[in-house]
């Protein structure tokens, strides 16, 4: 038995090592390319012939608006993360803890709304934002507004967590004379720390990948781009050879902080994802 297990585990390690290589290979390539001194697009070797910081220097030199784009994205991510979390908590609490007329109807309507593809409404949103002066130069606040405005519909995971907190706690607090608002702020929110962190983390990570809406709202106005829009354009231009290694360097600069943050909060992420999957 134990010999068989040893062989089995040997194969398991082999499998895991192979998987790890496949999973990490693109990231290793990305890092190596970002330090490549030779210019040009893709090359047919992995390790650069000449290591150099030239790509990073380009990003910080002011020859492009990279720092501006980075700042835009960071601003959007922070605001969206905070505001979206607040909205989700409010909605989840109301739907989980309170019983009011039209509650079921509201939930059903939101469920149906969620089945429409988001891009469908893109042109309409563009003109709504334009009317408020929140496109092009105002792209950053515009994107924050759009992300936060519809975030109430993403309450499922958080409400699922609130549902597991016994209602008896609420009732006891009400007997003690607490208002509903006090219950939310002083009782529910401290217990719900994991799910709040999960919500904020997911909301923080999404804007870094936002290409579609961001490119549409900024509409060619360079200072309003986020990193995803700007750097995707680098790769898709006809002259991508000139920008490929710069893209890799920029990608590394974007990925490092987000990845570190994610790894630190991984525990909460797992909790949120698992809870969300089970409750649906």
């Amino acid at each position: 038995m134990s010999k068989r297990r040893k062989i089995g585990n040997g194969f398991a390690y082999l499998g895991l090592i192979l998987i790890s290589i496949v999973w990490l290979f693109p990231f290793v390539g990305l890092v190596l390319q970002s330090f490549r001194g030779e210019s040009g697009g893709m090359v047919n070797y992995l390790v650069p012939k000449q290591f150099s910081m030239v790509n990073y220097q380009f990003l910080f030199s002011g020859a492009s608006k990279f720092l501006r784009w980075y700042g835009n994205t960071l601003t959007i991510a922070i605001f969206v993360s905070v505001l979206q979390t607040l909205v989700v908590i409010c909605v989840s609490y109301a739907l989980s803890r309170m019983r009011f007329r039209g509650r079921k109807l509201l939930m059903n309507i939101w469920l149906v709304l969620g089945m429409f593809p988001g891009f469908l409404t893109m042109i309409c949103l563009y003109f709504l934002l334009k009317q408020m002066g929140l496109t092009e130069a105002g792209a950053v606040p515009g994107l924050i507004l759009i992300s936060v405005a519809s975030s109430g519909m993403g309450y499922y995971v958080c409400k699922g967590f609130f549902d597991t907190i016994p209602r008896a706690l609420d009732e006891a607090a009400i007997l003690d004379g607490a208002t509903r608002a006090q219950i939310l702020v002083q009782m529910i929110m401290p217990i719900s720390k994991p799910i709040i962190i999960y919500t904020a983390l997911v909301a923080f990570m999404a804007p870094w990948c936002d290409y579609i809406f961001a490119s549409y709202v900024a509409f060619g106005y360079e200072s309003g781009y986020n990193v995803a829009v700007a750097m995707t354009r680098w790769v898709w231009t006809n002259d991508y050879q000139g920008y490929f290694t710069r893209f890799c360097a920029g990608g590394i600069l974007v990925a490092i902080p987000v990845t570190i943050l994610f790894m630190c909060l991984q525990k909460y992420y797992v909790e949120g994802v698992t809870g969300g999957a089970v409750k649906g």
Binding site: R5, G8, N9, A12, G15, I19, S20, W23, L24, P26, G29, L30, Q33, G41, M42, N44, V87, C90, V91, F100, L106, W110, V112, L113, F116, P117, F119, L120, T121, M122, I123, F127, L128, L145, A149, S151, G152, M153, R180, A181, W208, C209, Y211, I212, T232, V235, F244, G251, V254, V258, F262, M263, Q266, V270, T274, G276, A277, V278, K279, G280
Partner: protein, 461 residues
């Protein structure tokens, strides 16, 4: 059918009762209530309910101002979407109607009118209830009590007011707008402000389903087919392989469990536009993969990963595994611990091998618990814009497909291209409605038929 008629009948009965109620309230009410029929909140203000009264009054003024000052002119043109085209008169451009704004602001005005009617009705009911209370010699709730209740008994209204408003303006109104667009001829040749567009009935739907000639039918069903195939493989392959990886990591005697998990989770942590764009380039004709295969002499010419339709489709599904497996792995890892150890113990005593325990215990439990998750994954994949678009933008395109559709285009990426590249908003809107229908039908069937049957059979709970 019977139930439906009942619902209709009940609706009209309710409406009738409501109208009657409005009448009797007016007849029986005192002069304060009667004035409130015109000036909302008047009765409340007179009876000392300053907060409520002001709220009604300000809302009425605001909505009326919007309707009269701005919206009315657009709303009355909703039926035609404008008749005066922008034209040049004596070398001066005279701007005519703008169909786009007529539709958008018209819809908002209709909504404002409905909101006004709803508030007006609330205001009447409030007046009647207040009169009732007073006539029975009771006190009305004070302003302080009103405000306080917003933090307590009516806290739900405080919490939901802004989120509901946000969703209404930025989700509901745009969706209504785009559904309307599906019934107009708004496209590249009918673009405001220089041109008008107007209602055309079901013509766009006919065009989408029409096969041959002017129709998009062939392309539509081709893209729909691939969307479904993609969603199926992307969901179930990642699900089962992710489960396998999770079981591998959690195998007894395997060390560094945390390390393996962290390595896999890298693909979730790194923003997709970085990782997918790089991986996409890796498989390009001059990319790293082809370069090494050529160097090692395994192939003679570069493999056309992105330009051959079949290769591109397979590759996209495979790369999606790279992104998707870690999610399932995380979820399954958490759930594996919930399966009672005694089940495995007794299975082992009965002489079941590893595969049998997996098939009889692990898999049914997982399917039972993660049924809803699979459904959301499937629907998410139907609309998985990022993976397709960042990897190869739906290419390769083909002459046999209309409107720039490519072999790996999903309905949503096709919709996006139509909007951005062709300004073909009318067909894009119809496709959007189709995506909605597909999603809704799948969800309904799964929720009503599939999930309950899985639950009954397995008997976990």
């Amino acid at each position: 059918m019977g139930r439906k008629r009942n619902a209709v009948a009940r609706f009209f009965q309710g409406l009738g009762a409501d109208l009657k109620d409005i009448g009797t309230t007016f007849v029986n009410g005192d002069w304060k209530t009667k004035v409130s029929y015109l000036i909302m909140g008047f009765g409340q203000l007179c009876r000392g309910q300053i907060v409520r009264g002001l709220a009604f009054l300000l809302l009425e003024l605001g909505l009326l101002f919007y309707i009269i000052d701005f919206g009315w002119g657009y709303m009355v043109k909703l039926t035609t979407l404008g008749t005066v085209e922008t034209h040049v008169e004596n070398r001066v451009t005279v701007y005519g109607d703008n169909s786009f704004f007529i539709l958008l602001w018209g819809i908002l005005t209709v909504v404002a009118v409905l909101a006004l009617i709803f508030l007006w009705r609330l205001n009447l009911r409030g007046n009647r209830d207040a009169e009732d209370l007073l006539s029975r010699g009771k006190h009305l709730p004070s302003n302080r009590a009103d405000l306080h209740s917003l933090l307590d008994k009516n806290f739900d209204k405080t919490l939901l007011a802004l989120p509901v408003l946000g969703i209404f303006v930025f989700t509901v109104v745009p969706i209504i707008f785009m559904i309307c667009i599906a019934f107009t001829n708004y496209d590249a040749t009918h673009q405001p402000p220089s041109k008008l567009f107007t209602w055309v009935g079901l013509q766009n739907f006919k065009e989408l389903f029409g096969i041959g000639g002017q129709g998009f039918g062939g392309t539509f069903f081709y893209v729909l087919g691939w969307t479904l195939i993609w969603a199926f493989f992307a969901t179930f392959l990642t699900y089962f392989l992710g489960m396998a990886v999770a079981i591998l990591i959690n195998k007894k005697g395997i060390k560094f469990k945390k390390l393996w998990r962290t390595i896999l989770v890298m693909t979730i942590a790194v923003p997709q536009f970085v990782s997918l764009l790089y991986v996409g380039k890796m498989f390009a004709a001059d990319g790293l993969v082809n370069a090494y295969l050529l160097k090692w002499g395994w192939i003679k010419t570069a493999i056309p990963f992105w330009t051959n339709a079949t290769y591109a489709r397979i590759l996209i599904i495979v790369i999606n595994l790279w992104i998707g497996i870690p999610y399932t792995m995380l979820i399954v890892t958490g759930l594996l611990m919930n399966i009672p150890a005694e089940l495995y113990e007794s299975a082992r005593i009965d002489g079941a091998n590893a595969f049998q325990t997996f098939r009889k215990i692990t898999l049914p439990y997982m399917l039972f618990v993660t049924g809803p998750f699979l459904l959301t994954q499937f629907i998410g994949n139907l609309n998985n814009f990022n993976v397709i678009f960042l990897l190869n933008q739906g290419k390769p395109q083909s002459m046999s497909l209309s409107n720039n559709a490519g072999a790996t285009d999903l309905l949503v990426t096709w919709l996006y291209k139509m909007t951005i590249n062709d300004s073909n908003y009318r067909i894009a809107a119809v496709i959007g409605i189709m995506v909605f229908l597909v999603t809704a039908i799948i969800s309904l069937v799964v929720y009503n038929k599939v999930l309950p049957s899985v639950k009954d059979e397995e008997g976990f709970q």
